[in-house]
């Protein structure tokens, strides 16, 4: 018997147990929900007692509301606005509070082409953000240079100047794609990444 079976405790999946789990999709459309993804380091009993290490609990709390920096650069910024606006409503996932100041933000969504002139400013904004901080590279331009791969004026991927956690491909990515990127980032934060 493992230690887990001796105790009346089971791994808790907050998405499944506390919040309703989002439907999984594959290429064919809506698929059956995958097996539960337990939040690492958190166990719960049936009588509402939760055992967790402080790190796991803090990571879980952080992952639930990443506040992005309102930092639109180009075309992707319009889709970022569409993601935050009424139809796609990013606030369902706690990430709709776009802060105008980097000192209040957790996630930098680099939405658009980064030019050589913009790169030092972007790096400075990243350094002004408090720890812990994450970066989502939204769109092909921010991920790898995209269709401006041979332009003399653009940076070939924002990961050359800041560490990127999630890449969202597309030109521009659909709002659903950005939402998926935010959800992937949540999973990463919950795992302590």
């Amino acid at each position: 018997m493992t230690a887990l079976e001796k105790l009346p405790l089971r791994p808790i999946d907050f998405e499944h147990d506390v919040i309703q789990r989002r439907p999984e999709t594959d290429q064919a459309g809506l698929a059956a929900p995958a097996a539960t993804a337990p939040t690492p380091g958190i166990l719960a009993g049936d009588d509402n007692i939760v055992f967790a290490s402080l790190t796991a609990l803090v990571n879980w709390a952080r992952s639930r509301s990443p506040w992005p920096l309102g930092y639109g650069l180009a075309c992707c910024a319009i889709e970022m606005m569409a993601t935050a606006a009424s139809h796609h409503d990013l606030s369902r996932f706690g990430a709709e509070v776009f802060r105008s100041s980097p000192r209040q933000a957790d996630v930098m969504i680099v939405a658009g082409t980064v030019t050589h002139k913009m790169a030092p400013r972007l790096r400075r904004l990243y350094e002004q953000m408090p720890e812990p901080k994450w970066v989502i590279a939204m769109g092909n331009c921010a991920s790898s240079g995209g269709e401006f791969w041979d332009s003399y004026a653009t940076l070939q991927g924002v990961d050359t100047i800041v560490p990127v956690d999630v890449y969202v491909p597309g030109c521009p990515p659909r709002p659903e794609a950005l939402t998926e990127g935010v959800l992937r980032l949540r999973e990463k934060i919950a795992k302590g990444g």
């Binding site: 180009a74 569409a82 796609h88 003399y152």
Partner: protein, 391 residues
């Protein structure tokens, strides 16, 4: 109040801040305020260097180039058809109008006859694109002057327009739909019925939500009426075009004054012109253009002819030698492409005239001597897109 002798070297380091006297006789030090490139109300990555004397703007210097992606140079490296995709990126809010301009320049050089069905489809997608652009402007302008609700309403309608575009050409933005001699695809079955239903809803939303919400709002009126006044002669002198010029009473609408496509045949095409010249007049012009777009699209649906949507040009079409300047009335003003072809596979040169860039010229004149709290309201009413300013 306004010290004409201010000679501060801005980025050189030796900044001399003279002591100036305000209206009330209080002596203050002149302040240099950097607005942008990361600022929520600069609509992108514009940087404004504002010299302030107290609450007044003494001088405003726009610093551009934070989004310069070298689109005009890339045109020279790509084939003609590949270039259409890059024309999309210039004004990324109203992509179809840029594509129209870029393909129109090719068609003028090659003297290509566009089928009539394609011309009508072009008017439909152009006007839808104009609506989408004005909706983004209206939503963000609401944010600029302190109202959050218009953004949510505007993006609701914009999403419906983008859904139609997606069905038509497979993409929500950056459509790549125009081709020399027509458009890429014919309308999918059932698309026109969806469009008509959308127009009905949208027409109702304009009156009930946008006009009803904003024009009865005291704060919105206080922040726009009489703010950012551009007289007609100043608008002409600075080369301002589009809704800004029409809001100042300048009768320039390229759909009427330099007609292209089938616009001369459309009886509903009457330019929206306001005489006041302030931010509120520009708002009225843009809302009027949304209504006009609905009427134009309805007329096009009624008169939509059958036939092909693309002229037969052969598999490998080469642009003949020549040069042309083609203009389209964009959402921001006169979109123009000056294209030079030397008969090769790619354009020798394609100059893109972005209306936002020329409209931005009037901003330093407008902000001089104004209150700094009006700067955002004035800047928002000019409606520039930085992709088009920097290209």
């Amino acid at each position: 109040m306004v010290d004409a002798e201010v000679q501060a070297t801005l980025e050189g380091g030796n900044i001399v801040l003279p002591i100036v006297e305000s209206d009330e006789g209080i002596e203050t030090e002149e302040l240099i305020l950097n607005m942008g490139p990361q600022h929520p109300s600069t609509h992108g990555v514009l940087r404004l260097v504002l010299k302030l004397s107290g609450e007044r703007v003494v001088e405003c210097i726009p610093v551009m180039g934070y989004l310069h992606r070298g689109i005009e140079k890339i045109f020279e490296w790509r084939t003609y058809t590949q270039g259409i995709r890059y024309a999309d990126q210039a004004d990324y809010v109203s992509n179809m109008l840029n594509e129209h301009c870029y393909t129109g320049a090719m068609e003028t050089i090659g003297a290509i006859e566009v089928p009539r069905r394609a011309e009508y489809i072009r008017v439909i997608v152009d006007e839808l694109s104009r609506c989408a652009a004005h909706l983004v402007w209206l939503g963000t302008y609401g944010l600029d002057v302190g109202a959050t609700t218009p953004l949510l309403y505007c993006f609701r309608d914009r999403e419906e327009i983008l859904d139609l575009f997606e069905e038509l050409c497979g993409s929500r933005m950056n459509f790549n739909y125009y081709r020399p001699g027509g458009v890429l695809y014919d309308l999918p079955p059932g698309w026109l019925a969806k469009l008509e239903r959308l127009l009905d809803r949208y027409e109702e939303h304009i009156e009930s939500d946008y006009v009803g919400l904003l024009e009865s709002n005291e704060i919105f009126l206080e922040r726009t009426v009489g703010i950012g006044l551009i007289p007609a002669h100043i608008a002409v002198a600075y080369g301002v075009s589009g809704p800004i010029a029409r809001g100042s009473g300048v009768e320039v609408d390229l759909r009427r004054t330099r007609p292209y496509g089938v616009y001369p045949e459309l009886t509903e095409m009457k330019p929206v012109i306001m005489q006041e010249g302030d931010a509120f007049a520009r708002y009225k012009v843009r809302v009027g253009e949304m209504r006009l777009a609905i009427r134009l699209i309805r007329e096009c649906i009624t008169n939509l002819p059958g036939g092909a949507v693309r002229a037969r040009l052969g598999h490998v079409w080469k642009c003949p030698k020549g040069e042309a300047y083609y203009t389209v009335e964009g959402a921001k003003g006169e979109v123009g492409v000056y294209m030079i072809s030397n008969g090769g596979p790619n354009p020798f040169r394609a100059k893109f005239r972005g209306p936002s860039f020329l409209n931005l010229q009037v901003l330093p004149w407008l902000l001089r001597g104004r209150l700094v709290s009006d700067a955002v309201a004035i800047m928002g009413s000019l409606d520039f897109v930085l992709g088009e300013v920097d290209r």
